[in-house]
């Protein structure tokens, strides 16, 4: 690999640029789809090493990536504007970087495959995700020792909440607004179901149905990042998780106050 690319100086420079582009693209996909900070940095550095660029430095925060190679003037900055959780893409980038480390795939092929991963769709269609959220809500209700007759209201409220989250997220790109609106939906449905006598315990229905919206993973990831020494990512992730929890809380509070 080394000898192959070092034909002349300018060629080598192009190669380092391309390596940086590939690493940054991989980092961007990982960050946008919910990987942990230290793993993103690790993957980027490993990818660079597989293409015999040893002196790579990466700095990852939830809103941007800086990637630089020591000893030459390649530095890349990527701004990240939206983050969601699509662990399929994380898995695919992970296995691609494993393959690259093992067998030395061509740089261009890696770039092509990363673009494909970036463009690929969700594994499960929307209706399945809504159904999953609905099922999870009634399962949580039973796990928290709720009554069997409350499983149906929790099912409806949880499913509507997730459907609302998907719909409002498409409508506006403001994440907190969609979380706020969908938690109002959950709260209103729970309150109504108790009013018409379909459900009995309001608390348990709301707790079960709101679980799909709760930012459990960002909170845990944030504390983990802080403990791992990624202070910048940790603090900004906890701010994000706190805001999400706040949006949900206010939504539920509004719905409760009409009770």
């Amino acid at each position: 690999m080394d000898g192959f690319h070092r034909i002349n100086d300018s060629n080598e420079k192009n190669v380092t640029h391309e390596v940086a582009a590939v690493c940054v693209l991989a980092g961007k996909i990982l960050l946008e789809n919910g990987a942990e900070t230290f793993r993103i940095e690790d993957t980027m550095n490993r990818l660079a090493k597989s293409f015999s660029v040893d002196q790579a430095q990466s700095f990852v925060t939830p809103t941007g990536i800086i990637f630089a190679i020591e000893g030459c003037d390649v530095t890349q900055l990527v701004r990240i504007t939206h983050r969601s959780t699509n662990l399929r893409k994380v898995t695919e980038v992970n296995s691609l970087s494993r393959e690259v480390a093992e067998k030395m795939i061509e740089l261009e092929a890696v770039h092509r495959r990363l673009t494909d991963i970036d463009r690929s769709a969700k594994v499960y269609p929307d209706w399945m995700q809504i159904l999953a959220a609905a099922g999870a809500s009634s399962c949580f209700l039973l796990m928290f020792l709720g009554r069997w007759e409350d499983a149906l209201p929790a099912f409806i409220a949880g499913g509507t909440g997730q459907a609302g989250a998907i719909y409002f997220h498409r409508l506006t790109k403001v994440k907190f607004f969609s979380e706020f609106m969908s938690s109002i939906l959950v709260g209103v449905i729970a309150v109504l179901s108790v009013k018409i006598g379909m459900g009995s315990e309001l608390n348990k229905i709301i707790i079960g149905a709101v679980m799909p919206l709760v930012p459990g993973v960002p909170i845990t990831n944030a504390v983990r990042d802080v403990m791992a020494g990624d202070l910048v990512s940790g603090l900004s992730k906890s701010a994000e998780a706190g805001l999400t929890a706040f949006a949900i809380g206010i939504g539920i509070a509004l719905a409760l106050s009409i009770n």
């Binding site: 793993r39 992970n94 995700q129 999953a132 099922g135 999870a136 399962c139 039973l142 909170i219 106050s257």
Partner: protein
């Protein structure tokens, strides 16, 4: 009760895997991890009524099993740990904080919020503890393996 708890926790963790777009094969392993973690949490809590210990133990088990599964099937750890952690997140407590705030019971709300914060800390500690333990085990184990290998190579000479 045991049957209901294990079936519902398995289904709930799998459903969370679907929401997070986890590919099909790790989905069921994640469900298994979630189920075991929830059963540990649930019965530990029923037994001694200490949710801090129960949360810590359950998240420790989640992290340990995720590390093992991740090495076995060559997937990122987060694919396995994410869904298993979800049932442990103090969602109910966070809800009570909100409903106390609506009822103007701010003192009680702050008290509950502190508890929720400590519990999410317990989850994180469980995760970190398992990871550190796994790394120590791996380092020592690999080190010993290397020693044995060099000894074998020496003997073969």
């Amino acid at each position: 009760m045991f049957a209901v708890q294990s079936v519902t926790s398995f289904l709930a963790t799998c459903a969370f895997g679907i929401i997070y777009n986890i590919p099909r094969k790790p989905l069921f392993h994640g469900g298994l991890i979630g189920m075991i973690a929830w059963l540990i949490y649930f019965f530990l809590y029923q037994w001694n009524r200490n949710d801090f210990v129960a949360t810590f133990a359950a998240s420790f088990v989640v992290a340990l099993m995720s590390q093992v599964f991740a090495r076995l099937y060559k997937n990122p750890v987060i694919v396995y740990s994410v869904a298993g952690i979800i049932p442990l997140v103090p969602g109910g407590l966070t809800y009570s904080v909100m409903s106390q705030v609506v009822g103007d019971q701010y003192n009680l709300a702050i008290h509950l919020a502190e508890k929720a914060f400590v519990l999410s800390g317990a989850i994180a500690m469980g995760l970190i503890f398992a990871e550190v333990l796994y790394q120590i085990f791996k380092r020592n184990f690999l080190h010993n393996m290397k020693k044995i290998n060099t000894r074998v190579a020496f003997l073969k000479k």
